[in-house]
Amino acid sequence: MRKIRTIGICAAVLLVAFSFSSAMAAQVSLRFSDWHLTEDVWNKSLNEGMDIFHKRNPNIKVTLEPVSYGEKETKYTVESMAGRAPDVFHVHAFSLPMFFSKGFAKDLTPFIKKEGPGFMDAWYPLPIKLMKHKGRVHAMPGDYMTMVLFYNTEMFKAAGLDPNKPPKTWDEFLAYAKKLTRDTDGDGKVDQWGFGTLGSKSPGFSMRFGPFLWSFGGDYLTPDMKHSALDSPKAKEAFAFFVELYTKHKVVPPGMTAMGAQDVRTQFAQKKVAMILGSGWTPPIVNKINPDLRAFEVLKAAPAPMKRKQATAIWLSSWVMSPNTKHPKEAWELLKFITSKEIELKWFVDNRVTSSRKDVSGVAPEILNDKFASVMASQLPYGKVEPQIKQWPEIIDTFTTSLQEAIVGMKTPQKALAEAHKRINAILAR
């Protein structure tokens, strides 16, 4: 009797174990990583998105892996080298040349071909172009936004400026910034500044400097990307203008070279600066830092001021499938889902980021009627991307080093820029 009971229990355990493993085998697990998972608003939005995906794909289980914004390239590089990168991960478009060159991004062209002709027609041409490596698509475009000028209408009014007339040129901008740099509490010390900007060697700096450089008519590199273009008179003029905002006109708060993007947004949220360059993420983040500011009411957006031509920087993110994924078909389903028209619109509604899909950013009333997104969308034709070459991270670090040396007075702007020009040429000549 005891023997029969024992055999029965063993059989039952084996049956359960077999069923469990069968169920597990039937369900595919995917790892999905995104720096947005460290941000409250985005985290909620992504989790909701995954719930929708799970309902539609019950055989796929997606595990979300947050990563810090500054460390994502490091993490994905190390994991890719170890053959353990997440199945799908989110990076800036400017990281793509490096990922492509090291073979860390799977060729998506076969999947796209299976979707039928015209599948990629829904996206703007520039993002698609930047997703390609040797003519083949190796990533899917994500957020597509332009840098615009955000300003605090209440601070404008307090300084005697009309909030419906934001500065259109950089010269006007400087005049506004000077008026907005003031002592608000009467203690004889300036406690509010006209403009907040990054000066640290952190991601996002080049997007804040790009609108200056390009609208002055300068550029980082020559069109063939083989030489530095920072020795042109227009590049020198843009560089000097930017540096002198801090050194000569003092319209930027102290400590600029230590300020990253979040530090500047905090200054903006705390009404220490009246204007910043930002994009779709700016209002929700500023609102989160200081809800009392009523960011969505008080802030307004305007095109980045111009000097000789309208120009601004484009922010483009991308979704990459790891070549190490054991479930490429399922990973493609996830990629398709997060870049679908429905979910791209959700990303905008929840997080205020515009899409690289024409059928979203170009037509959705939610975007066209939004006071911030409509401005960003209007600037897409004037948007430029940074050089998409694998040396770019080293080039921008070298440039920022020289800029910091000019800002803190170690070198004159002319000397600092000349050194940057020389070093960048040496990098490109390797």
Binding site: M98, G255, A258, Q391, P393, E394, R430
Partner: protein
């Protein structure tokens, strides 16, 4: 039978030591060899498989020489200040202090804070607009305008070293406290009877008594400070310019931001050689004792 057992006993140590040695080879040896092999590979694929060009480029790189110099200053000042403050606090804690365990805990607290967290906290404290340090100094009238601790070229590196002093002295304090407690009390009593002053006792009893612990603390602290990364990366990322760039942040940049694996490996090898040289007195002392 007796002979068979003797042979077995003589070789048993192999089985006990092997797992640890294998682990060391895997965790330390494999990455070291991989780094070394990367360091002698060319950055661009070509006809040459192995080259010393990465090391030659180090010699020509003005950023590297500046970084090396910064590292020297950072390590020298950090270690020196750790030794001074660590010894001072250890001597205080070695006295008959009321609530000594509490003071020991307070003294240890900076050491348990992770590097990056310490860097972020102090970066906020140094903030020219919101920072507690400027606010305090302005209120007591010591300064009239906020100081840009991390942006001023004359102050940036020393501001980082100050944070490192706060963060790192407890480790040295612990080692020296252990050494102080091992010095026999009767030596101080005898010196006192012979008319020696406190300063004389310090230089003729305390310092000689702490000699070995000082070498241990120096060697370990130098190694750790050469490798210090999180604190500097969180506070300044090597800026302004390259004023706070040290070997560890420069290596990180080359590896993980610029993806120059071969060049970064060469820097890592140079760092390792420097650390080995620094560790030689410590290794010699340990081997002498054995």
């Amino acid at each position: 039978m007796k002979r068979a057992i003797r042979i077995k006993d003589r070789h048993m140590w192999v089985f006990f030591v092997s797992p640890g040695v294998l682990l060391l080879i895997l965790v330390l040896g494999f990455p070291a060899i991989t780094s070394l092999s990367y360091s002698i590979k060319p950055e661009q694929a070509g006809p040459v498989s192995y080259t010393l060009s990465n090391y030659m480029n180090l010699l020509k790189d003005p950023f590297f020489s500046r970084t090396f110099w910064n590292t020297g200053i950072f390590v020298f000042l950090s270690v020196a200040s750790h030794m001074v403050l660590g010894l001072a606090v250890a001597m205080v804690l070695n006295t008959a202090l009321p609530a000594k365990p509490l003071f020991r805990l307070i003294a240890l607290l900076p050491w348990v804070v992770p590097d990056v967290v310490a860097g972020i906290i102090w970066k906020w404290m140094y903030n020219p607009i919101y920072g507690a340090i400027n606010d305090f100094l302005l209120r007591i009238g010591l300064i009239n305008t906020p100081v840009e601790w991390l942006s001023n070229p004359a102050l940036a590196l020393f501001s980082v070293i100050l944070v490192n002093l706060w963060r790192g002295f407890p480790f040295v304090m612990l080692i020296l406290l252990a050494g102080l407690q091992a010095i026999p009390r009767h030596l101080y009593e005898a010196a006192g009877i012979d008319g020696a002053s406190r300063v004389q006792s310090f230089f003729h009893i305390t310092i000689p008594g702490l000699r070995k612990m000082i070498v241990v603390a120096l060697a370990l602290d130098i190694v750790w400070e050469v490798r210090r990364f999180g604190l500097i990366q969180a506070m300044t990322q090597g800026g302004p310019g390259v004023l706070t760039e040290v070997l560890s942040t420069y290596t990180y940049k080359q590896y993980f931001q610029f993806f120059r694996f071969e060049y970064a490996s060469a820097i890592a090898v140079v760092m390792t050689v420097v650390l080995l040289l620094v560790s030689l007195p410590y290794i010699w002392m340990i081997s002498q004792e054995e």
